[in-house]
Amino acid sequence: MQVTTTVNGKRVSEDVEPRLLLVHFLRERLGLTGTHIGCETSYCGACTVLLDGRAVKSCTMLAAQAEGGKVTTIEGLATGDDLHPMQDAFSAHHGLQCGFCTPGMILAAVALLADHPDPTDQQIRFALDGNLCRCTGYEPIVRAVGDAAARIRGEPPAPAEWETDRPSALVVSEE
C-alpha cells in the first residue's frame, strides 16, 4: 500500500506493507536513524517523534497511520548548522551520557514547550514520564529542558551546574 506523509517538511510517498511500523519506515526507508529503537514495547520513548506537533511513540504506530500527517524527527529540528535551542541546552547542561535516549527526550521536551512555554520542574518531569534514561538520573535533563524554555522565551542561557556549583568531590588540590 502507498503511504504519503510529510517528514521534516519534505513530502514522501512510499509503497509499504501495512504492518510496517512508523519507526522502521523512518529508519529503514528514509534513512533517518536518529529515531532510536529502545525497548520495542512502548515503554522507553527512545522512538519518540512528533506527529502533527504531538509526541508519539513511533514503534507503536503503523506507518499507515501517519498517512497525511506531519512527522518531525530529531533530524528536522536544527536549521542548517544552528541547533534547536533544546539541542543546545541538552549539550550545555550535558543532559545525556550515552545519548541513546536523547532524540526521544528532546522531541518530548519540544512538544511540552508548545503547550507550556514556561514549565515548572514538575511539569517537565510529568512530560518526560514516557522517556527512560538509564544513565543520567534525569537531573541534567530536567535542567536542560527548563533552560531551553528560557532561551526560547528570550532569556539568557542558564550556566551549567559545574560552572556555578562545583561539586566539592571534583575540587582537587592544586598543590
Binding site: R19, E40, S42, K57, L62, A108
Partner: protein, 294 residues
C-alpha cells in the same frame, strides 16, 4: 518486532467501516492502537484484518446535548483529560484519562479504545461505570446503546458483537449536588502505569444527605466492579468522614478478588478500601462545593 501479516483497510466513512468489519471475519478495529499494536507486535494477538477507523469522519468530537456529553471514538485520552465539560462535570473520567499511560500514550490512545479493549486494570472502565455511562455501538445492522454496567463482561471481553464498532461513550453531565473522583495506585507507584487498583466514586447530595452513590473498582478482578455494599452504606448518610470510611470498609464485599503479579487478594482488598475512601471523600467534597458555588 513486526506484527504478523494482515489485511488493512482505512475507510473514510462509518458505513464503509462497518461494512469492512462485517465482510472480514475476525477483523479488529484500530483507533489509537495503544493496546492493539503492542499485542500484535508481541504476536499474542494476530487479527487477519485491521479496520483502521483513524480516517472515519465524525468521530473526533466531544459533544454536549441534552445534559449529556458524548465522547467520539477518535477522541484521545489527552483531550478527555482537559475537556472542560468532562473536567467539571464528569471529573472521575477526566482524572482517569489524565493518569493513564504517559504523554505519548495519551496523545494516541482513545477513550473508546480503552473501553472496547477492557483491560481489567484499565482506569477508564471504572470511571464510566461510576458515572453511569452508555456505550454507543454501530454495525451494518444498526445502532444500539449499552449501559456500562452491562458492557464489561470479563477480562478483554465486552458486550460488543464482532461486527460492531464502539463509536462513542455517552455520559450524563453532573448537576449541582453531584461530584465524582478517581483515585488509583499504579504499578510504578503514584499514578504511573496500569492500576494495581483504582476506585471511581460518584455521589449525589440533597439537603446535606447522600441520596445516591456509585463506586466502581478496577484492577482487583477480571472486570470493573460496582461495589454495591459501599453504595448501600453511603446512601442516606451525611457523607461525613466517619460515614465514608464505614462505607469504604465494605468495598470488597461480595467481590471475587483476583491476585496478579502486582498484588495478592488481601492487598487488593486493602487498596480497594483505601482508594474507595479517598475517592469518596473527594467526590463528596466536590458535590458540596458544586452546591456552594451556585
Amino acid at each position: 518486532m513486526y506484527p504478523r501479516l494482515f489485511d488493512y483497510t482505512a475507510p473514510g466513512t462509518l458505513d464503509q467501516a462497518t461494512a469492512d468489519l462485517a465482510a472480514n471475519p475476525g477483523a479488529k478495529v484500530l483507533a489509537g492502537g495503544m493496546s492493539l499494536i503492542p499485542m500484535m507486535k508481541l504476536r499474542v494477538f494476530s487479527p487477519p484484518t485491521i479496520v483502521d477507523i483513524g480516517r472515519v469522519a465524525g468521530l473526533e468530537s466531544i459533544s454536549e446535548q441534552g445534559g449529556r456529553v458524548e465522547v467520539g471514538a477518535l477522541v484521545r485520552q489527552y483531550q478527555v483529560a482537559v475537556s472542560q465539560p468532562l473536567v467539571h462535570r464528569a471529573t472521575a473520567l477526566a482524572e482517569a484519562a489524565a493518569w493513564t499511560g504517559d504523554v505519548q500514550v495519551r496523545n494516541r490512545g482513545t477513550l473508546c479504545g480503552s473501553l472496547a479493549h477492557a483491560d481489567a486494570s484499565a482506569d477508564q472502565p471504572a470511571a464510566v461505570l461510576a458515572l453511569s455511562g452508555m456505550m454507543v455501538a454501530h454495525s451494518s445492522r444498526g445502532t444500539r446503546t449499552i449501559p456500562a454496567a452491562d458492557f464489561f463482561v470479563d477480562a478483554f471481553t465486552t458486550a460488543l458483537d464482532e461486527d460492531e464498532i464502539l463509536t462513542g461513550a455517552s455520559l450524563p453531565l453532573g448537576l449541582p449536588g453531584e461530584g465524582s473522583a478517581y483515585r488509583k495506585v499504579g504499578r510504578r507507584g503514584g499514578h504511573d502505569g496500569f492500576a494495581v487498583a483504582g476506585a471511581a466514586a460518584w455521589v449525589k447530595i440533597e439537603d446535606g444527605a447522600i441520596v445516591d452513590a456509585r463506586l466502581a473498582l478496577t484492577g482487583v478482578s477480571t472486570r470493573p466492579l460496582l461495589a454495591s455494599g459501599v453504595q448501600e452504606a453511603l446512601i442516606g448518610s451525611d457523607g461525613s468522614q466517619v460515614a465514608v470510611h464505614a462505607a469504604a470498609a465494605r468495598a470488597d464485599e461480595g467481590a471475587v478478588l483476583i491476585a496478579d503479579l502486582y498484588g495478592a487478594e488481601d492487598y487488593k482488598a486493602h487498596l480497594a478500601k483505601l482508594l474507595t475512601a479517598q475517592a469518596l471523600e473527594i467526590a463528596v467534597d466536590r458535590a458540596r462545593r458544586s452546591l456552594s458555588a451556585q
